[in-house]
Symmetry: C2
Amino acid sequence: MTIAKPIRSMIEAFERLPGIGPKTAQRLTYYLLHAPPEESEALAEASQSLKKDTVLCGICFNVAEADPCEICASADRRMDVIAVVEDPLDMLALEKARFDGRYHVLHGAISPLQNIGPDELKIRPLLSRVHTGDVKEIILATNPTMEGEATAMYIAKLLKPFVGLKITRLARGLPVGGDIEYADEVTLTRALEGRREY
Amino acid sequence: MTIAKPIRSMIEAFERLPGIGPKTAQRLTYYLLHAPPEESEALAEASQSLKKDTVLCGICFNVAEADPCEICASADRRMDVIAVVEDPLDMLALEKARFDGRYHVLHGAISPLQNIGPDELKIRPLLSRVHTGDVKEIILATNPTMEGEATAMYIAKLLKPFVGLKITRLARGLPVGGDIEYADEVTLTRALEGRREY
């Protein structure tokens, strides 16, 4: 095998990313070799600054440029609603859905199989936020998976003692654009349970 | 949308890679955020050095660390056989198949649809190699696609005047591990044509 070291390193760096196998890593590398130099430079700069120029927000644990993050520092957003999400990507999705409250990023979900217990997540800081702030509602926006449900249930139990605090969970039901014919029975059961007057 | 600039740049850099959509770019970026810093540093270094530390070999046009490349500079490889390939990845594949001759990388294939004519490929330097060297055989190892076949045919025509030069093409037939039942008819026709005595 006579493959130049810079090429080998690039292939290896790509291969370490999740979901990228050896063939894709090779293809991406040779793509960059043929692409204008700006492409690989953009990749180099971005991956260099990704960790260096970001911090965890000390309030919501979002990955941000500043601490507190833009959302926590903003005066334009509702103070009384916090959406609890598993990771920053979920936060992005809610932002796109025009959620106007604040967030709390757990950085994972309870998963005994992966050895992730409540102490590995940012649950404790959430409790202190509820303690000290004017929070009226906590939306448990963890994923509709086994782990997400377990995490929501665990947090809901911890939040129960707070009198007057509303604890909600995102509605489960048919995805927009979906087909009833192909819906799994659990989703359909939830959609029936959550049906609304027309 | 409140997404930190370093994160946005990383997502954008990933998105520009072929076959990586917005969702995958996001997933890769957040993976790097949670991964140890060595991962993003490895990616940064590799993409920085990829273009900077590689050159095109002036003989075979392989992407290499030095010019001439390791293979062209080697005394251990056959001088009389050149495999003509479309791009460096094909060269890698032949290396794994233990080809022991030399290479010539065309950097593409003739494709009128993509506006790639013979002049965009490294065909002329191949002719001068055949002119000056002791080449006895040219293996046209372009892909078994429309473009690859057209390129092979074009080069074969140019090489015809060289008396005594053997021009070959990689065998077409059933892939090892494949199933006759699922072979397309063109492949099967080629496999029949190319059948050998047992």
